[in-house]
């Protein structure tokens, strides 16, 4: 079973957009804390939670309790995407007689706990967990608490109680975003260590300073500590919690307040302020411009692919790109599913398997079983029927579905019906078969063209640029419409993979900023450009943006 990676991140993207829609229409609300928990919510709602939107009180459903109730837009948006009510209802957030109250309320179907007053939700969840135990019911209770909320003494009363009663049907997430209403948590009431300077990133650099996990451990909990924005880590942590018997589990998730919107990220101001409706379309575009880096390990030492996977993981890759070549579809041979199976235990990072093989429909199950999370097959060796079969196999196994095209290939007409549901489209910018080739320049035009066609046909997935991607062209590939970047020799071929990948990200970020400045200009001229740039208060973002605007002549 795969991670269902793209499915989750697509839903997360949509929920974030709905949060912006709701809060900007309402003129108030809490986007920051809704965004810090967005990936956690996405994994719970679209991977684990058992529920029926048509029957919200179905007895055997899993329960979800949002204890940090001020992040209600984040809950409502997930309920909307899950189908409890129409997405357009998000526009009624906080309005008179709306079901979507300022804080979660039973008026809204799917809400399990009326939050708002902090520190109560964990105790409430314990009541639910005890009731399930009395009734011998197997359903689970998932609860999210905040770090600011952890100042409340009741959280610790509850912590002891859950431990005493060995509530292994209870899984709690601590949304550790380091920011509460007044300031950084480590300034207001340190959960780890007191922060002396004004730079919160100080806390991220030294894991020895993180104490909150120890607090929970000493209270008798099974404690898992993860990056709360990495889907694969969230999923593995929940799976581990489900298998843990005899203690409740808390997943301490390090997150970023306002995650995915640069000007909100790590800025305490965005705890409880709604975005200006004029800025909202720029934020929407920013959310559409999330990008991922997928290093291709065959560019490294083919005799020690295990090590290449480790290097990619250490470098903080989003995916590991696995080029499978069968010596028939392409002249070269790399490895097959048996190798993928061997590599699988090395890392939790999603495996992005690119099958350059003939008759993929005959082999695709092997690649699913080997542990691939995304499988891309080539348009040249599929037709409507075989791709349909592949699609169904992958979906049935929560593996994301990709379709690849060689430089000479256009999007086949049989593929059209699949477009709205496709997760990933690889547009090859080299002739596949070997690593280290130069980017074919005409691909820029091709991606721009395909990108336009795809968006007209309601494509919600990601275009992956693959072949000859390096620092010189990654920015323009992004502007063409690509959102996932395979790096072969330009990443794996480099000595310091982490630094190289960080440089890749910076280039894409810079291109994205340029795109957003242009968007701001289209929407509201220089005034809106300046207004938007001014929002970027944390770090040196603002200086960088002014520079980009200057270069674009939009300052």
């Amino acid at each position: 079973m795969g991670l269902n990676y793209y499915h989750i991140i697509k839903q997360v993207r949509e929920t974030r957009k709905l949060v912006i829609k709701g809060t900007s229409t309402a003129g108030s609300g809490h986007p920051g804390g809704s965004f810090s928990m967005a990936e956690i919510m996405g994994c719970i709602f679209f991977k684990f939670l058992r529920y029926d939107p048509k029957n919200p009180l179905w007895e055997d459903r899993d329960r979800f309790v949002l204890s940090k109730g001020h992040a209600s837009p984040g809950l409502f948006s997930n309920l909307a995407v899950a189908g409890y009510f129409d997405k357009s209802e998000m526009e009624t957030l906080r309005k008179f007689e709306s079901r979507l109250q300022g804080h979660p309320d039973f008026k809204c179907p799917g809400v399990e706990f009326c939050g708002g007053s902090l520190g109560i939700g964990l105790s409430f969840s314990i009541g639910m967990a005890l009731a399930a135990r009395i009734d011998g019911k197997p359903h689970r209770i998932y609860t999210i608490i905040g770090d600011g909320e952890s100042d409340e003494g009741q959280v610790w009363e509850a912590s002891m109680t859950a431990s005493k009663y060995k509530l292994d049907n209870l899984t709690v997430f601590l949304d550790r975003n380091f920011i509460q209403q007044d300031d950084y948590t480590e300034k207001v009431m340190p959960l780890d260590e007191e922060l002396v300077s004004d730079d919160i990133s100080e806390m991220w650099k030294d894991a020895a300073r993180w104490k909150i996990g120890d607090k929970w451990r000493s209270f008798g909990w099974n404690v898992l500590e993860i990056d709360g924005h990495r889907v694969e880590q969230i999923i593995k942590a929940i799976q581990s919690a489900q298998q843990t018997k005899g203690t409740p589990t808390i997943i301490v998730s390090r997150t970023i307040k306002g995650k995915s919107v640069e000007h909100m990220e790590d800025n305490p101001k965005w705890h409880g302020v709604a975005p200006d409706p004029k800025i909202a379309p720029i934020i929407d575009l920013e959310l559409d411009c999330q990008f991922l880096i997928s290093p291709s390990i065959i560019a490294g030492d083919m005799t020690n692919l295990e090590n290449e996977v480790k290097r990619a993981a250490h470098g903080r890759a989003d995916f590991i790109h696995l080029d499978v070549m069968d010596g028939q579809f392409v002249p070269n041979t790399t490895f097959d599913h048996t190798k993928i199976k061997e590599l699988r235990p090395i890392t939790q990072i999603p495996f992005d398997a690119h099958l350059m093989i003939n008759e993929p429909v005959k082999h695709v199950r092997n690649y699913v079983d080997a542990g691939s999370d995304i499988i891309t097959v080539h348009a040249e060796v599929c037709d409507e029927s075989s791709f349909g079969e592949i699609h169904d196999i992958l979906r049935g196994n929560e593996v994301s579905v990709g379709l690849a095209m060689n430089p000479e290939t256009e999007l086949p007409s049989w593929a059209e019906k699949f477009i709205p549901d496709l997760d990933q489209i690889i547009v090859m910018s080299v002739v596949p078969g070997k690593s280290g080739q130069k980017y074919i320049e005409s691909t820029h035009g091709k991606v721009q063209r395909i990108s336009k066609i795809l968006s007209d046909k309601k494509f919600t997935g990601f275009i992956e640029a693959d072949g000859g991607i390096d620092l010189s062209n990654i920015g323009s590939c992004f502007l063409d419409g690509a959102r996932v970047f395979v790096g072969g020799s330009a990443i794996i071929g480099q000595k310091d993979v982490r630094a190289t990948m960080s440089e890749f990200r910076k280039r894409v970020l810079s291109a994205r900023r340029k795109l957003l400045i242009q968007k701001a200009y289209e929407l509201g001229g220089i005034d809106l450009v300046n207004k938007w740039i001014d929002l970027h208060e944390v770090g040196k973002k603002k200086t960088d943006l002014i520079q980009i605007a200057k270069e674009a002549g939009l300052e």
């Binding site: 706990f113 105790s123 314990i126 009541g127 967990a129 005890l130 009731a131 009395i134 509850a158």
Partner: protein, 322 residues
């Protein structure tokens, strides 16, 4: 000699009886389960009994979580630690959550050690604000039984009536007021003595004082109607209006601050239905103090809560209204 019985013992025994009949009855305590006499329930039904330690906020919130899942939790500790300490959790986790037409969650908050009669533990432990706190929270019903018969009947009724309840019991043994045959209904008061000259309305242990005062006044030829208004919210407006209309004056008595308490609740009805002179006997907006069991009458006397004062107030009303 009036028989004296213990409310907490009756509470614990009744819980076991209803627990046998209804598997959804669960009991939650906070390190006072021995005192509240709920421990035997825990012995009998270990899977339905939870002691969360000295953590009252947690107590009521865990109870709320049990209630949303269809359990009928009885959450118990001393009065001083429940309404006063947990008003936020009671409001937001129990009273506020309302799904469809169910108002609030089905939690029964039953406390002992209400009012001044706590005695020796002193002013810090004498909850004289709970009626006020609990009755202003929407959806919560407030009960103050006068004896063990009422306790037993109310526990049965609460277990079968959806919604959040607050019931306050006294620490010490109390005289038996009602017969086993007495019917109890939420929102209905009980006329203990009929009379035409004045009405004395009381709740909890002051009902006994009201009866003593009525007996004394009877000797002097004054006929008092005595009401046991154990259901403070909802209150029996019809019975109060009738008493006002037929007796022309009302004296209330409570071991609680006279502000926003029982007397105030009666006065709210009287002023809006049939205004007549009233006197409210109760704690005059100050705190209590320690008193050993045999000194408790002195403590009450210091606060003016006595049958003699009730009788005086009746006379006062009657003299003014002539």
């Amino acid at each position: 000699m009036t028989e004296m019985t213990d409310m907490r013992t009756m509470y614990g025994e009744t819980l076991i009886k209803i627990g046998e009949e209804n598997p959804n009855i669960v009991v939650v305590g906070a390190d006072t389960t021995d005192s509240l006499k709920t421990k035997p329930f825990g012995k009998k039904f270990p899977n339905r009994f939870f002691n969360v330690g000295i953590a009252e906020a947690n107590l009521v919130s865990v109870a709320a979580g049990l209630a949303i899942e269809g359990k009928i939790p009885f959450a118990s500790t001393y009065a001083i630690f429940l309404p006063g300490r947990c008003v936020d959790q009671i409001r937001n986790a129990i009273a506020y959550p309302s799904r469809d037409d169910k108002k609030g969650l089905n939690v029964k908050m039953v406390v002992s050690h209400g009012g001044l009669s706590v005695g020796a533990d002193g002013g810090s432990h004498q909850q004289i604000e709970d009626i006020a706190i609990m009755r202003v929270i929407p959806n919560i019903r407030v009960m103050i039984p006068s004896d063990t018969v009422t306790v037993s009947k109310l526990v049965w009724i609460m277990s079968q009536t959806y919604g959040p309840f607050y019931m306050r019991m006294a620490r010490s043994k109390t005289p038996v007021i009602h017969s086993e045959a007495q019917d109890f209904e939420i929102g209905k008061g009980i006329v203990l003595r009929d009379g035409s000259d004045c009405t004395i309305a009381a709740c909890g242990i002051t009902v006994h004082m009201a009866l003593e005062a009525a007996d004394a006044l009877k000797q002097e030829g004054t006929s008092c109607r005595v009401l046991d208004l154990f259901s403070i919210k909802p209150i029996d407006s019809a019975l109060i209006e009738k008493a006002a209309r037929e007796t022309g004056g009302i004296v209330t008595c409570e071991e609680h601050n006279i502000m926003a308490g029982f007397g105030s609740a009666v006065a709210e009805v009287v002023t809006e239905t049939y205004p007549v002179p009233m006197r409210r006997i109760g704690v005059q907006d100050k705190f209590g103090e320690s008193a050993r069991d045999n000194e408790i009458p002195l403590l009450f006397a210091k606060h003016g809560i006595t049958s003699i004062n009730i009788a005086k107030s009746v006379k006062d009303i009657r003299s003014k209204s002539r």
